[in-house]
């Protein structure tokens, strides 16, 4: 078997390609589904106390191998004018807590007083995740009405949107007083990246489906029908994601490296396979057909995404036409990838990465275990390094940045800051707005080059520790440089303060690792997506044969 080199970071980590990322079988929700299926997790409705209009409370308990977790859901009336995608909104149709264990009546009452308040409430270490979601108003009503009439809703309209409710925030890791990540990091079922958050969204999906069924049945107890099983499975949970999430990949360089390293290692393993077996070929063909169907329904008003989706559709057609020929070659998956690299758009190339991993679970799924990180080791600075060596490491790792002239206003056009009103990250215009002196340390390329210039002024053998004793303002950049020198996928290879930056590209890369689909940019700084669409329902995994997903 001829080994295949990993795609280098200068290819993988540029923003344009990050903005074309697709979910793969290593994505976090797929990892969760595999574990739940393997361990036959059981879900039961512990409480479903909703009035005829669907307002009230519900508790869904999921029994994993080791522990019980509960989704505690609250559904409340909301005036239409208060329904907003924004994370800083103050009211929601539904709010949720993932509770550690099974809450008693007093705990449910405590949560009912706090969960609908979200940020304004306070929580305890019994709460692992906090979330809220709004109805997709017209669609939710259309579906409820159709079901109440005894009819299934229009499939194309339903799957064109893809979800009945859309989350506007899913918080973990200690936000607003909920449990720290450290508290669950040692539990196998929640140890992987964002597993508690994915479990929450998976359970929310079942609640939304039960909610619409319940409302329809209350409207017409004798004649209503339940949403058909194939439609239930096709629907996911929507999500609106904005700038607040963008700095995450920059602030977690080791984790970012591990996510990309796992995916790139998986791709290299598949490309190195000497042949394509019949079973793998069939799974690939099915995955290709499924994706083509999804792409046909993938709607976005964003011009760039709409054009990319059209290119992707053409790429997938071309892939289908050439599949037999490519898979007959030696190292067939490598031949397929090279064909995509030569002929396809970036959207098509990254879709191919996802498709190629799909039939190869036995070869790649174990890589999911490395997609987590304790950032602590990267925190230590090697002060014994000499300034000349650090400067050389910077010049090597950031060679891509040397083409950027930060003296040009366009290259230095923006600055990241935290808004005093919203306490959320924002992107300002450096030469038009106040506040650049309070810039957050996210100008990675500019800071790396400036650090290299500062180090050039030092005697070559001087130690980094002595340099930092005199110049503590460089501490964050030194720390980052030493991480990036060791972990090549830790850095986004683009200017994060340039006039051309599209933050949605960063958001898409992260969301693809979650397992998101149906990316729909609504501007250059926020987008909508769907999670779990087409995946098994959590209540079905206990009875599913074999290993799904």
């Amino acid at each position: 078997m001829t080994a295949i080199a990993l795609r280098p970071p200068e290819v993988v980590m540029c923003l344009e390609r990050l903005g074309a990322a697709h979910p793969t079988r290593l994505s976090f929700l797929r990892q969760l589904i595999r574990r739940a299926t393997r361990e036959k997790w059981r879900v039961r409705k512990h409480l479903f106390d909703l009035n005829d209009n669907g307002f009230g409370r519900a508790v869904y308990a999921v029994e994993t191998s080791a522990r019980t977790y509960s989704l505690v859901a609250f559904s409340t009336p909301l005036d239409d004018e208060k329904r907003s995608d924004r994370v800083i909104a103050q009211a929601w149709d539904t709010s949720y807590v993932l509770y550690d264990g099974l809450p008693d009546a007093a705990e449910i009452a405590r949560l009912e007083a706090n969960a609908p308040l979200q940020e304004a409430g306070r929580y305890t270490r019994s709460e692992l995740v906090l979330a809220r979601a709004n109805k997709s108003v017209r669609l939710f009503e259309d579906v409820a009405s159709a079901l109440a009439r005894g009819q299934q809703p229009d499939e194309e309209q339903l799957l064109g949107v893809g979800y009945l409710l859309r989350t506007t925030a899913v918080y973990g890791n200690g936000k607003f007083g909920i449990a720290d990540r450290d508290e669950i990091a040692a539990r196998p079922e929640l140890a992987g990246s964002f597993q508690a958050e994915m479990l929450t969204v998976w359970l929310i999906r079942s609640f939304t489906l039960d909610l619409v069924d319940h409302i329809a049945r209350c409207r017409n107890p004798a004649g209503a029908v339940r949403l058909a099983p194939q439609l239930r499975r096709a629907l996911g949970v929507g999500n609106a994601t904005g700038l607040g999430m963008a700095p995450f990949l920059v602030r977690h360089p080791l984790l970012t490296h591990n996510w990309f390293l796992a995916r790139e290692t998986a791709l290299a393993r598949v490309r190195a396979e000497p042949e394509a077996g019949e079973a793998e070929r069939k799974i690939f063909e099915q995955a290709l057909a499924d994706l083509a169907q999804r792409v046909a329904r993938w709607h976005s008003d964003d011009d760039r995404q709409a054009a990319a989706t059209r290119s992707l559709a053409a790429d997938l057609d071309r892939l289908a036409e050439n599949l037999d020929r490519l898979l007959a070659k030696p190292q067939p998956w490598d031949a397929l990838y090279r064909f995509a690299e030569e002929h396809f758009s970036l959207e098509g190339q990254e879709a191919c990465v996802s498709l190629m991993l799909e039939p190869h679970g036995a070869l790649v799924d174990e890589l999911g275990d490395i997609m987590k990180a304790d950032e602590t080791p990267g925190h230590a600075i090697d002060g014994g390094m000499d300034c000349a060596s650090l400067r050389q490491a910077l010049l090597d790792c950031y060679s891509w940045a040397r083409a950027i002239d930060f003296a040009q206003p366009a290259a230095n056009a923006r600055f990241w800051y935290v808004s005093a009103e919203k306490l959320e990250p924002r992107l300002g215009e450096r030469f038009e707005e106040d506040g650049a002196e309070l810039e957050q340390p996210l100008a990675t390329a500019r800071d790396a080059l400036s650090l290299a210039a500062a180090l050039a002024q030092e005697p070559a053998p001087a130690s980094v520790a002595d340099f930092l004793l005199r110049r503590p303002e460089w501490r964050h950049a030194v720390r980052r440089a030493q991480i990036v020198a060791k972990f090549p996928y830790a850095e986004i290879h683009d200017n994060l303060i340039g006039a051309e930056l599209r933050p949605v590209d960063i958001l898409r890369a992260k969301l693809a690792f979650f397992g998101a689909r149906s990316f729909d940019p609504r501007s250059d700084r926020w987008l909508r997506i769907a999670l779990f669409s087409g995946e098994p329902l959590i209540e079905d995994v206990a009875t599913m044969a074999g290993e799904a997903a």
């Binding site: 995608d85 924004r86 808004s419 520790a465 609504r522």
Partner: protein, 192 residues
């Protein structure tokens, strides 16, 4: 009292440290050290507030003094208290040779921070001086590096929390009409 998660402790203290004038990199270190103090000491909030309020009066070790430590020579105190954060950062970046330990460092400001900063290293403060404003300390070798504790929270009274939040707020940018319009990009009302 308000019960914060340790992640909230870390985030708040890193922001407050930056607001008090520490560099971004040192502020990250302070956030992590604050988490370690909170695990063991209910006074973590007061420790952070003292650090923020006194940040400007603490001085970094000068290179000549640092060189004496490395050679194992006797320390000479400065007029002003030694910054525990800058001192710990230096010791962590360039650990002292075994021959230099134990090492007495004189006149350390807020030594609880020196202790907390060194908590995950092979060095430790021999007899931690609690919330003393200034103390002489002895740095010694630590045989086993502690694992971070879990299942802990950071309780803080409202007044101290408000004071720390006001330091953190120095890192925030007030909205202008223009930035408010642009926001995070999300729609105002969702009618779809």
């Amino acid at each position: 009292m308000i019960d914060l998660s340790l992640n909230e402790v870390e985030t708040l203290c890193a922001k407050a440290a930056r607001g008090a004038g520490f560099s971004w990199g040192l502020a990250e270190d302070i956030g992590r050290a604050a988490r370690r103090i909170a695990v063991e000491d209910e006074n973590w909030g007061m420790a952070m507030l003292c650090l923020a309020e006194n940040a400007q009066s603490l001085t970094a070790p000068d290179p000549a003094r640092a060189a004496r430590w490395r050679k194992g020579e006797a320390d000479k105190p400065a007029q002003t208290p030694l910054c525990p954060i800058r001192t710990a950062a230096l010791l962590l970046d360039a650990p002292l040779p075994a021959s230099a330990l134990p090492l007495a460092i004189l006149g350390v400001g807020l030594p609880v921070w020196l202790d907390a900063m060194l908590r995950r290293s092979a060095m430790r403060v021999a007899r931690p001086a609690g919330l003393a404003k200034r103390a002489d300390v002895v740095i010694e070798h630590r045989a086993e590096i502690e694992r971070p504790a879990t299942g802990r929270r950071g309780a803080i009274d409202e007044r101290t929390l408000a004071a720390l939040n006001s330091f953190a707020a120095r890192t925030y940018v007030p909205e202008s009409e223009r930035s408010r319009m642009r926001g995070a990009g999300g729609g105002r009302v969702d009618d779809e």
